[in-house]
Symmetry: C2
Subunit: 441 residues, 2 copies
């Protein structure tokens, strides 16, 4: 037998994920090499602070402060971008793709903001960009969409994609404590970042939704083309009222495609899910994704959405795919809807009128006669029909909290309704809107 | 651009699955060809009865009664074995592999009984055998285990793998009707075969467990080396008592590996699952698989486990993988533990003493003083300690039904216990044993 080829790997970033990748790849290396028929060498890693103590010890001569030197090193056939952010990460990714390397990235923000440019660069220069770790951590959802479900067109994908939000909502349900208390504790325990906005305001979920939408539909939808709402306004009253109605509340990304009209829509918002649905029992830091294909029906995927080890598992599966590509010259099948997908026009954005659903509206009103009639009139004006009204608790002196659910309406009508409601003199606080997700399964 | 290569596909079997594959592949063909950069041609199909009317119409000159002529046709680079059974299916698969073709099979019985021979034949002659559709229908669990979770060693895999059993158990819970009634109705509706034994006695689940164990551990465990128990003895009393204890009952395949001792065990049995676990809410014909890897933790996969369309989705994903292999010469990564996986010894079967768990025992005893003491003595003799005793319902005159749960014990001790219990004069009917599945997540 001839000596097996050695494939050299460089890591840009050696933080949480980078160290996990190094450690687990070293541990599994002999097995993976036997399966692949090639040698794998973790050759170099780049960090910002060369002096920082690391959990995973690697020889000093393998560490550099210059990530671009790894991206540009022609001996490294695989470059992992595990830095985060969209500045240096973009430069590193572009540089490596330009020399035809395979880049493995866990960076959903980078993909969402610069995906079109990155994939175009890859196409032009013969590089490849793999990104299993960018969505839902250790769950192999990218591979499922791209390969396992290749026979399908995806009419609907929805999922819990942010572990921090799911952790906070789960603890709010379990402990009955307010959002702010749980958030503070989550920060203390390291489950939420010091600046929580990326997670709790829905941006991280939106970045991931963008990646899934690209995979399923071949177009990049940026966050300014989505509805993005976070969990910060959810109260115990909402959770309890939802539970009484038979729902749990989860922050969901929802990607819907109407193939007949060739329209797509991506949105991120807290959603009431019927409690018998499996995603309603996906708790804590776990993620879950439900995918509806026109052939297979609905399949659901659940697992740890982040963390050193789960993310490393996904990065390593990309590294192994990359090594198989390099060993044999095989290209990964291109992504549906991407330039090679000649048979269909890219979808356009669906108008808000077509994004239908039932709604949950909580509002604080003056406790005086006729208020409900005013509210009902506003809703009727927009053809939003009320399904139920509850006054769940005594609010402050002179005000009353009101929870309404609606029959089927749409995002356009409900937005107009909410704007008009907020203008009513009897409405004390801008109403909170939650979606009721009676998704088909 | 040069004319793209044409890859010809033959289908052996054109029944439920075969027709689904033909129809959906034709529908998706242009898109798949664009992604792959090759042409796909469904060239021929074999059936038993040439005169039978088919739902999916194909030209008469493409249909043959001779499946082996497809297996041996050198122009067909991909052969799908969708006949079922282990006789002709085996011949067809061997013949196609011997000429270096890629065989796509949905046949778990064939794989379980002859997998070792088939994969050895493939290795020897440069053929390949893909089998995504053989386990859990449309759920891409084979790809997840083989590629997506490649960084992991699998300490535990358990799943609901038979839609018929899950459908029956679900309806028993929902309707409160006895097993026999629901089974008869399931047959009438086409959810159970005329000969139900393959499904309800656990053999189909066992075949699928064998395939998953091979994928995860590289060895073929046949059903005679497993514990295989079916659902036919489960009563309403069991379901209700389990529910009162906070459990649902599901027929599970359970594959556990102890890496330190290098031991493996595969079993199939009705199992009490804590109702907050996601698999407890996998109902009807749906399948669900929970996979615990040493890096990623537990990931769970849910979807339709059978049926024309879901199975076709899986077969088509294998056809696309096969076409990608043929287009570029890439080999699929070999399976862990298989011959190429040089770094580890194949695991041996774990002894029954090491298969631990808590148990649920239902038995019918004479309603006379001292019976419980006799039973408790038998259990104590085998060091099986009782966690709870209930007498859920009045049985026939002079007898009493008794439900016991145990603390942690093992398959050896509980078997001996059951044998001794059955010998007690006061025990009227051989006890029913169910496992309590408090699986780690
Ligand atoms: N953590 C997770 O659970 C998770 C899950 C999925 C995806 N991801 C994604 O994975 C990526 C990495 O996340 P992480 O949690 O591993 O982040 P992290 O712990 O903050 O690690 C980032 C690494 O990049 C290095 N770095 C930063 N700026 C650099 C510079 N200018 N030059 C060279 N190196 C630089 C850092 O160096 P120092 O160590 O010297 O600071 C550190 O090693 C992000 O895109 C994230 O979104 C993370
Ligand atoms: N059905 C499912 O939901 C499902 C799901 C997963 C896996 N599978 C597996 O897929 C395989 C096929 O299942 P199926 O449900 O499609 O079975 P099926 O409907 O009974 O179809 C079997 C096909 O094989 C043909 N056939 C039988 N004997 C033959 C012979 N001697 N020569 C030529 N053709 C012959 C039959 O011909 P005629 O049509 O002329 O009788 C029929 O077209 C089985 O291994 C099964 O376990 C099925």
């Amino acid at each position: 037998m001839s000596t097996p080829k050695t494939i050299k790997i460089g890591l840009c970033g050696f933080g949480t994920v980078g160290q996990g990748v190094w450690q687990h790849l070293e541990r599994a290396r002999t097995d993976l090499e036997a399966r692949l028929g090639v040698k794998l060498e973790l050759a170099r890693a780049a960090v910002r602070d060369l002096k920082r103590a690391r959990d995973v010890a690697i020889p000093a001569d393998k560490i550099t402060g210059d990530a671009l030197s790894i991206a540009n090193d022609p001996s490294l056939a695989i470059v992992c971008e595990l830095i985060g952010g969209t500045t240096l990460a973009r430069e590193v990714t572009l540089a490596a793709l330009k020399r035809g390397a395979i880049v493995v990235s866990a960076n959903k923000a980078l993909l969402c903001d610069h995906g079109a440019e990155l994939f175009e660069t890859a196409r032009k220069h013969g590089g490849q960009l793999l990104f299993e770790a960018s969505v839902a951590g250790g769950i192999p959802i990218i591979k499922a969409l791209r390969e396992g479900l290749v026979a399908n067109r995806f009419t609907q994908i929805y999922g819990i994609l942010n572990g921090t939000c799911n952790y906070i909502l789960t603890r709010m349900v379990q402990e009955g404590a307010p959002y702010a208390t749980i958030l503070a504790d989550a920060k203390r325990l390291g489950y939420a970042e010091a600046d929580e906005s990326l997670d709790v305001d829905g941006w991280d979920t939106a970045h991931k939704a963008s990646v899934l939408a690209f995979l399923a539909h071949g177009v990049w939808i940026k966050t300014d083309k989505m509805i993005v709402e976070g969990i910060a306004k959810i109260t115990q009253a909402d959770l309890k009222h939802a539970a009484a109605l038979g729902y749990g509340i989860k922050l969901l990304a929802v990607i819907t495609r109407d193939f007949a009209a060739n329209q797509l829509f991506v949105r991120v918002h807290p959603t009431l899910i019927p409690e018998e649905r499996v995603l309603a029992s996906v708790n804590g830091v776990f993620n879950g994704v439900s995918v509806t294909g026109d052939v297979v029906g609905t399949t659901t995927y659940i697992g740890r959405g982040a963390g050193r080890d789960a993310t490393a598992s996904a990065v390593i599966s990309d590294i192994v795919d990359a090594a198989a590509i390099l060993a044999t010259g095989k290209a990964v099948p291109s992504i549906p809807g991407s330039s090679s997908y000649a048979s269909s026009q890219p979808p356009s954005l669906a108008p808000l009128e077509k994004i239908t659903g039932r709604y949950y509206v909580r509002t604080l009103v003056k406790d005086e006669p006729g208020v409900l009639a005013q509210i009902a009139t506003v809703m009727a004006n927009h053809k939003v029909s009320i399904a139920s009204v509850t006054q769940p608790e005594v609010a402050e002196e002179g005000t009353a909290s009101l929870i309404l659910t609606t029959h089927l309406s749409n995002e356009h009508a409900i937005r107009e309704t909410l704007a008009d409601l907020a203008r009513l003199p009897s409405v004390v606080e801008a109403p909170l809107l939650l979606r009721i997700g009676d998704f088909a399964e």
